[in-house]
Amino acid sequence: MTQFAFVPHTADIAIRLRGAEFADLLRAGALGIAAAATDQETLAPRRAPGVAPRRIVAEGAPDEEGLLVTFLNELLFQGETNGEVYTDLEVQAYSLAEGVRAEAYPDPTLTPTRSIKAATYYDLHITRGPDGLEATVVFDV
């Protein structure tokens, strides 16, 4: 289960992420960023045929919130410096100590129309419920 939804915010962009496991939250975050960058309300995961994934390595963090934000900011960094929009993500490993290793799938048919400056920690709490994990991340735009 991977889901994201935009939540109203006066100035910036808030995205609620849901997932069965932490890796699903990361994937939901990647899709949310791709949707926000290309001005789409929803975006289903997809992989452009014949396009090699980009390796994403994010450093560890003291807690899961830190791991989530650090990873999303790494994704933003890679997207901006390589001019790519990632429409799917495969998390290979993650831990607080070692960080996240993942492969992000760029879609060359998509052009970003919005610059996202950063994922922030504002009011960020990863909560666990019967359906899995949930977190709302505010992005500075």
Partner: protein, 466 residues
């Protein structure tokens, strides 16, 4: 949630949230707003965010909300948080991601009427010659040496490279060179993001506007600053681009890791901070100052591009095509400030630094007026040398897009005589004038409370959006 009942009116347009409001507040919070603006302020969590900042170690009485305040992340936009350098903290998140994002006002020597027949040519030249939007690459690829020079010498570096004139520097805060900047405190990743972005506008609410001085409100000051009725001006709104964003991200993470070691707890993790005199605090301070210089240089290179576009558009039509820098002010900065015998670090998140007698620029939303003002001693005394920075958003981006489509908005603006150019019509819709507060209401508050004195009102003729 802060409610109306929690505010105590201290003077006209001045309200206080006492420190007894919430456990952990070390100082009270002050809000500069009129009743009409207060209604809008209560529509989001901006005052709760302000209350959180009143809990930071070493914070000085009071934390302040400017009349354009709105919800941000961690610290509200329009928030002012001063901390003692002796025993207080420095916070990257409170300063913000677009370090030294700011506005610069340029003035031609002619009335707008003189270029009316070529106004479209002018805006098209601005749009094609100024890189804007996502992924825009600038005219300069910075080598490692040049990057370090930009980070330590700011606008002065740009002028030395031919992007402007020496006299421009005198009309920029700090002469366009932030002291205490250290290039080696900026991470290689931040430098990588900034390598090709110098001289680019960016996206979001960044813009270049062509403006006309509609009304002089203080003739003596206007004359001193070289403004006259009908005058054609340009306004730039841009910042430190990806280099600033990455610098903030890097140091928010560093401070989060360092806080337990320094025994610091904060009510929101985006307020992560470190003692000013700690290794982490000093590294961030020097990196933030270096990013401040990048923004100074960026607006200097943009100024050069505007001068070139104006020269091409006006040649053969206007004899005197000189374009002077009127002034420039930064918004997302933390600067040292002497106050009642103590050295403070004043964090301004979406708030403008101001000095008595020096110019101050408050832009409105796209399609509405902007103001040139002068700073006051009262703002130095009561608001740590700070004033409002703009109109302030009141509506979410998604709501704005639901209310107007970008192409329709462009037509509406053109019907009002404002030419608009953008690479993102969705982005244009997000910046619709109705998504912002009334800038005139903001100006009334800063004038009534004595935070600044209006000098001139400018109206837009054309806008290039990122």
């Amino acid at each position: 949630m802060v409610t109306r009942n929690d505010l105590k009116e201290r003077a006209r347009y001045v309200y206080e949230i006492p420190k007894s409001f919430r456990e952990g507040m070390r100082v009270s919070a002050r809000v500069y707003a009129s009743p009409e603006l207060m209604e809008q302020i209560f529509s989001d969590k901006s005052l709760d965010q302000l209350v959180n900042t009143a809990m930071l170690p070493g914070v000085v009485e009071p934390v302040i909300a400017m009349p354009d305040i709105h919800q941000g992340y961690g610290c509200p936009v329009g928030g002012v948080v001063a901390t003692r350098t002796a025993d207080g903290v420095i916070s990257p998140g409170v300063t913000g991601y677009d370090i030294n994002c700011g506005v610069r006002l340029l003035a031609t020597q002619v009335e707008a009427e003189a270029i009316r027949e070529r106004q479209q040519t002018l805006v098209d030249l601005l749009f094609t010659q100024i890189p804007s939007g996502v992924g825009g690459r600038g005219p300069i690829h910075l080598s490692e040496g040049d990057m370090n020079a930009v980070l330590e010498r700011g606008a002065e570096w740009a002028v030395k490279r031919g992007y402007g004139r020496k006299e421009d520097l005198a009309r920029i805060e700090e002469g366009g060179v932030a002291r205490d900047a250290r290039a080696d405190a900026v991470t290689p990743r931040a430098k990588q993001r900034g390598r090709d972005e110098l001289g680019t506008l960016g996206s979001g609410n960044h813009f270049v506007e062509v403006q006309r001085v509609e009304r002089i409100l203080n003739p003596d000051e206007a004359e001193r600053l070289g403004l006259f009725p009908g005058q054609l001006c340009f306004m730039i709104h841009s910042g430190s681009r990806g280099l600033g964003h990455q610098t903030c991200s890097d140091y928010v993470n560093l401070c989060r890791r360092a806080m337990p070691r320094h025994g610091i707890r904060v009510p929101d993790q985006e307020l992560a901070c470190a003692p000013f005199h700690s290794a982490e605090g000093q590294d961030y301070y020097h990196a933030m100052r270096a990013a401040t210089n990048y923004a100074f240089a960026n607006r200097q290179v943009l100024t050069h591009a505007i001068r070139e576009a104006w020269d091409q558009a006006a040649v053969g039509l206007v004899k005197d095509r000189d374009v002077r820098v009127v002034y420039e002010v930064g918004h997302n900065v933390a600067t040292l400030f002497e106050h009642e015998g103590e050295q403070l670090l004043v964090h301004r998140k979406g708030a403008a630094r101001t000095e008595a007698g020096k110019p101050l620029i408050i832009p409105g939303s796209m399609g509405t007026a902007s103001y040139l003002l002068v700073g006051t001693e009262k703002a130095e005394r009561e608001a740590f040398g700070t004033c409002a920075h703009g109109a302030g958003r009141v509506m979410s981006r998604s709501q704005a897009k639901k209310q107007v489509e970008g192409h329709a908005l462009r037509e509406q603006l053109e019907a009002q005589g404002i030419l608009a150019r953008t690479k993102s019509y969705a982005g244009l819709a997000e910046e619709a004038p109705f998504a912002y507060k009334d800038v005139d209401a903001v100006i009334r508050v800063v004038d009534t409370t004595g935070l600044a004195r209006p000098v001139a009102r400018l109206v837009p003729l054309a806008v290039v959006k990122g």
